[in-house]
């Protein structure tokens, strides 16, 4: 039997929270969402927990069926098993990933024009230095770098092609009304962002 989570009409991060909660007690959860951000976030949560995933678009919403494969074979461990999985993946990466957080579409405070030149240069340089960071997180006005019309879109795409993960704060995109203009990176939520920051080997804040 599957547990039903109706996440339609719920604001981020509620769909993720409710899905996570449901997966703690049930092996099979069907989540109904009504927007692409929720779909993306719930799907990513399921994948990060090692669950199987099936998405079906229906007239009244998108149905995400999540099956917790791990739990089927190891029921005794229960909910703990879910959170353990992330930890195991992290320890496999030795000291954890190098994370760059970009908090604004400028580098440094003072002069905006100069700050914009600097952030453009910085992002360009990230593609040339070695070792490159593993993950880049964009939040607050930093998300403006990843949307249509930004001067660094090509650089960000280039970084993605190199395997660098770019997490873009969904709340921030929504706040600026830019959600549908994202061109580089993936929409992320505070769960992913907090997890990433706390499991990082090194955090570089710009």
């Amino acid at each position: 039997m599957s547990k039903l989570v109706d996440a339609r009409g719920l604001a981020c991060p509620q769909p993720v929270i409710q899905t996570k909660k449901a997966l703690e007690t049930d092996d099979r959860v069907v989540v109904i969402v009504d927007n692409p951000v929720a779909l993306e976030n719930v799907s990513r949560l399921a994948k990060s927990l090692g669950c199987e995933l099936d998405v079906e678009n229906k007239a009244d919403g998108t149905y995400i069926t999540i099956v917790s494969v791990e739990k089927e074979t190891n029921k005794a461990v229960g909910a703990k098993n879910l959170s353990c999985k992330l930890g195991d993946a992290d320890t496999a990466q030795k000291s954890g990933p190098v994370v760059v957080t970009i908090q604004q579409d400028r580098m440094g405070r003072g002069d905006d024009e100069l700050g914009y030149v600097l952030i453009k240069s910085f992002i360009h340089t990230l593609g040339e230095i070695s070792p490159a960071p593993d993950i880049i997180i964009l939040f607050n006005t930093g998300v403006k770098l990843s949307v249509r019309g930004s001067d660094v879109i090509e650089d960000l795409k280039n970084l993605q092609e190199k395997g660098i993960q770019i997490l873009v704060c969904g709340t921030c995109l929504n706040f600026f009304g830019l959600t549908d203009q994202l061109e580089a990176g993936i929409i992320s939520n505070m769960y992913d962002i907090s997890d990433t920051l706390l499991s990082a080997g090194k955090i570089v804040t710009v």
Partner: protein, 75 residues
Amino acid sequence: MNDSQRYYVVLFGSVSHTLLAEKILKQEGIPHKLIPVPRHISSDCGVCIRFMPGVRDEIEKAIAGRVTFDSICAV
């Protein structure tokens, strides 16, 4: 030298000169990119404008008489 794989950069005397040139090139619609001055050219924390060899003439024409530049080099 295989020109198709190379870029050129225009170097200016100051950041303000570079930004002025960038504005002009944007207005003229000439493809270019503002990048940090490559380390092997200068250790200053400067910026310069990178472009493909094919637009060199266009670029020189666009900024001629409007912004003075130091040099153009292949990178």
